[in-house]
Amino acid sequence: MTPLLRVESLGHRFPAARGDAWAVRDAKLDLYAGEVIAIVGESGSGKTTLLNCIAGRLQPTLGQVHYRNAAGTWVDVHRLAERERRALARTEWGFVEQQASDGLRMNVSAGANVGERLMGLGRRHYGELRGTACEWMRRVELDADRIDDSPRAFSGGMRQRLQIARNLVTRPRLVLMDEPTSGLDVSVQARLLDLIRLLVARLHLSALIVTHDLGVARLLAHRTLVMREGRVVEQGLTDRVLDDPQHPYTQLLVSSVVSP
């Protein structure tokens, strides 16, 4: 089996960091097609930095990120020309931001948000774009009658679902998510998690989900990586990491929540 994504000895140190402060050290990771990996750890553990390095948004100080594209060719994400990387991000990849307002264009309608990636792929037929946008709004359980509303008129949970529709409309192969459910009410979280779970399974998506919530990892992820102080201290099957944690830090994490 060939992975879809391969992260090799990735390290990142922010220019302003003092002394030996590495945000991410020696991270290695293989992600296979159809697999969901959760990256867990507390704030400051380096999980979002790792995700941003993988996404190509941040140039890692050390190491490489290789991705096998739809044509079957391996590309080094950080050696792609900016234009190619943008094209990849718009077509084969998706990125769901923690803050929906960072991932949506707040000044255009919900429908235009969903249609934008399709237009980027050269689809221009208005009726068709609108039809696809309606379909995706329904899939993420948004009222398609609100297609012309601004995302500003949507609640946090609705915005997050719109962001997911906006990302998935081009059927990406890899979706990166940064704390997609934090900041939402618990009931809204459950609904969103259920939606992500369903779409990931139905679309055979591969996903990397950064979360501090072990319950999210339990529900969505096949495998879980635990990060602490920039290092991946443990990784494996999600139920094994949560039920039989080996590293002292993972044991602390697991024992600190009510019911992971």
Binding site: A190, R197, A201, R202, H204, G236, R240, D244, P248, L252
Partner: protein, 262 residues
């Protein structure tokens, strides 16, 4: 396979060790399994017996991959080859769990918002995942889902789960109702190895009898069953053999002071 070659047991466990290291308790070591060996043939149901604290559930969780064994082997025979489970990658474990290994735990881990019907139907669909690139609303999936739900309805009916509950998420069900959903999930997809951890706890007599029937059917299909049954009536009805983790010198090696001697 050559004709004169004897058929290997479905599961061969050899000298399995499992120890927990409690880092938050000063690194205290908790040895639970010390040298467990066990063969389970196709069509056989091995009941793990003995007082609690002997590692019965731990063994079952090692066999399901939720716990990592520290030493020893667990060899599972598939149609074409054997897999050494202690060496299996996470991807391999996930594939085995989709088709070859089923597990009924003591409690259902409910997923919010998913109906009881789909909690179980999902297991059937996972065994035959849609090809990559399949369309979201394609008819193939709709038909597969309908067929899976139909199969689940039949199983729910056998388990006397009230039809009014089928479309509801199991989170609000009673313990016994949740457990029947859990049992349906474990039995709906025929597996090569079936792991049962007190499947009949919280069930009434009528439903215990249904579970006994389901286990018998799995055995006659050639499934190898490893189970923990505190209900002696159920155990006597289904077990072809009882194995005590407490018996035999290899299994009762003296542990450290915090463990009561066998």
């Amino acid at each position: 396979m050559k004709r004169d070659e004897p058929r290997l047991p479905t599961l061969q466990v050899r000298d399995l060790h499992k120890r927990f290291t409690l880092h938050l308790r000063g690194g205290r070591a908790l040895p639970v399994l010390h040298g467990v060996s066990l063969d389970v043939d196709a069509g056989e149901c091995v009941a793990l017996v003995g007082p609690s604290g002997q590692g019965k559930s731990t063994l079952v969780k090692c066999l399901y991959g939720s716990y990592a064994a520290n030493a020893g082997q667990m060899l599972l025979q598939l149609a074409d080859a054997g897999v050494e489970l202690t060496q299996a990658t996470p991807q391999r474990w996930l594939a085995l769990r989709r088709r070859d290994i089923a597990y009924v735990s003591q409690f259902l881990r409910a997923v919010p918002r998913v109906s009881a019907l789909d909690v179980v139907a999902e297991r059937l669909l996972e065994a035959d995942p849609a090809p990559p690139g399949a369309e979201l609303d394609d008819e193939m999936h709709a038909r597969a889902l309908d067929a899976a739900r139909e199969q689940v309805r039949a199983l729910f009916a056998r388990l006397n789960l009230p039809a009014s509950l089928w479309e509801l998420p199991p989170a609000t069900f009673s313990g016994g109702e949740q457990q029947r959903v859990n049992i349906a999930r474990g039995f709906v997809q025929p597996a090569r190895l079936l792991l049962l951890d007190e499947p009949t706890a919280s069930l009434d007599a009528a439903n215990r009898r249904v579970v006994v029937q389901l286990i018998d059917e799995a055995k006659s299909r050639g499934c190898a069953v490893v189970g923990i049954f505190h209900d002696e009536e159920v155990r006597d009805a289904v077990a072809t053999r009882c194995v005590s983790l407490n018996a035999g010198a290899a299994l009762a090696a003296p542990g450290p002071a915090q463990w009561p001697p066998a």
